[in-house]
């Protein structure tokens, strides 16, 4: 098996030959780079997305107990998002963190420090670790509820966690009559028009209902509260839709500038979360397993897009996707999840 550093990669971004269905032209340019507009058009595209999002923000202001529920991981991107929504847009936010039992202790501190500095209400929710460990283990050994296409964007471990987090944020939005749910996703992690999406919750639940049994059989009968929203919660709420926004998709800002900006709030970069995360100690295990199974780094798509759009230096991008964590460094995480190397 080729090492990640030996793979053929697009000469402009960093996408590798092992990425599903990728093709390169004779110059070595990948299909995404061939279709990417020049920087002027990119800027106007971003401005359009921003205008759409801002119109929705203005429409939603002052309609509930909070304007916005912010999915706050304590990592750099969601910290910047929370700061931007609070300071730039002056929104009344509730910051919500899910403690997955793998948060770096510095990330937990960052959550308290940042929310206090910004003067926003803050909620920390910790599902029982026994449930979370089973969810992680099952996601790793079976692929979990991840659909095939999602492997392009995320590891199976992260995917289950993200589903759980998104669902909880929407529930809180209903409880607090908040019209907006905000995430800190950056380009490449989600589709571009996820900068602003109106989500009809009745349709969302209808669509997911056929998957209920799969969730129950994989993660246990009690798991539906983490992944589904009861009809009665929707029918009793003052709304049956929420607006999902990801403001980072409308901004032209790279990692270094993000970190510089949030340092002023007292945010400190954790030193124990690996190359690709700034809050989670489990992330590297997800990366290592993803690489073993699929032969490309779980962050390929995101890093390639950041590089392609000029938001990340190509050398730094290459570092991020070619240094695959070794299982020998991940024994603590594997023990905690209850996973043997032979099960991967």
């Amino acid at each position: 098996m080729k090492k990640a550093s030996e793979l053929q990669r697009c000469i402009r971004c960093t996408i590798p030959e092992t990425f599903p269905n990728i093709s390169f032209n004779e110059k070595g340019l990948c299909e995404y780079c061939q279709e990417t507009p020049d920087s002027k058009d990119l800027e106007s595209e971003r401005n359009q997305l921003q205008a759409l999002m801002e119109a929705e923000i203005e429409k939603s202001r002052g309609k509930g107990e909070y304007d916005c529920i912010v999915a706050y991981s304590g990592g750099k991107d969601s910290t910047y998002t929370l700061m931007h929504l609070t300071k730039h847009y002056n929104l009344n936010c509730l910051a919500v963190t899910i403690d997955n039992d793998f948060m770096s202790s510095q990330a937990v501190k960052n959550c308290y420090i940042v929310t206090e500095a910004l003067g926003v209400d803050f909620l920390m929710f910790k599902p029982a670790p026994s449930f979370m460990m089973n969810m992680y283990k099952t996601s790793i050994t079976t692929g979990g509820v991840q659909n095939q296409a999602a492997i392009k964007r995320v590891s199976s471990v992260c995917n289950s966690c993200i589903n759980l987090i998104n669902n909880y944020m929407i529930k809180l939005a209903l409880l607090h009559e908040a019209p907006i749910v905000a995430g800190g996703y950056i380009g490449g992690q989600v589709p571009k028009n996820a900068s602003m999406l109106n989500m009809n919750l009745i349709q969302r639940e209808q669509l997911k209902k056929p998957l209920l049994e799969k969730y129950n059989s994989l993660f246990g009968q009690g798991s539906s509260k983490f992944f589904f929203i009861k009809d009665s919660l929707i029918s009793n709420a003052n709304r049956n839709s929420v607006t999902i926004i990801n403001p980072m998709l409308t901004l032209s800002i790279g990692e270094e500038d993000i970190i510089t900006a949030i340092k002023d709030l007292g945010w400190i970069k954790p030193q124990d979360t690996g190359r690709n995360s700034s809050n989670c100690l489990l992330n590297d295990l997800g990366v290592a397993i993803h690489y073993k199974k699929h032969k490309f780094h779980a962050y390929e798509f995101e890093v390639a897009e950041q590089v392609r759009y000029g938001l990340m230096d190509r050398e730094l991008g290459l570092k991020k996707v070619t240094e695959i964590p070794d299982f020998s460094e991940l024994t603590d995480q594997m023990d905690k999840v209850g996973l043997a190397l032979s099960e991967i």
């Binding site: 599903p20 269905n21 509820v145 659909n147 095939q148 296409a149 999602a150 492997i151 392009k152 964007r153 989600v190 589709p191 571009k192 028009n193 996820a194 999406l197 109106n198 989500m199 009809n200 349709q203 969302r204 209808q206 669509l207 209902k209 056929p210 998957l211 799969k214």
Partner: protein, 90 residues
């Protein structure tokens, strides 16, 4: 823009299989399979699908159509695109 049903079906099929990494094998997935409830396409996938349809066929998918039956299977999608583009050219 007038489109041919066969051509559109081929284009959409090729987009779907490439983007969502599956095949229409005639057993597990057929042109009538609900791609959402069968778990082939998730909510972000739906967003990507809409982006593709809007860009490729210069149509606008409105909220009510999003996640409705009309875009759930290959056959439904083909009909949807055909109807939408005809509607526009009239």
């Amino acid at each position: 823009m007038l489109i041919k049903t066969d051509e559109a079906k081929k284009e959409i099929e090729s987009y779907l299989t490439k983007q969502f990494l599956f095949n229409f094998d005639g057993v597990n997935v057929t042109p009538d399979t609900d791609l959402f409830s069968s778990g082939v396409i998730d909510s972000f996938g739906c967003v990507e699908l809409v982006l593709f349809l809007e860009k490729k066929y210069k149509i606008k998918v409105i909220d009510e159509e999003l996640l409705s039956d009309s875009i759930r299977s290959l056959n439904a999608l083909t009909k949807f695109v055909k109807d939408k583009t005809n509607e526009k050219s009239q």
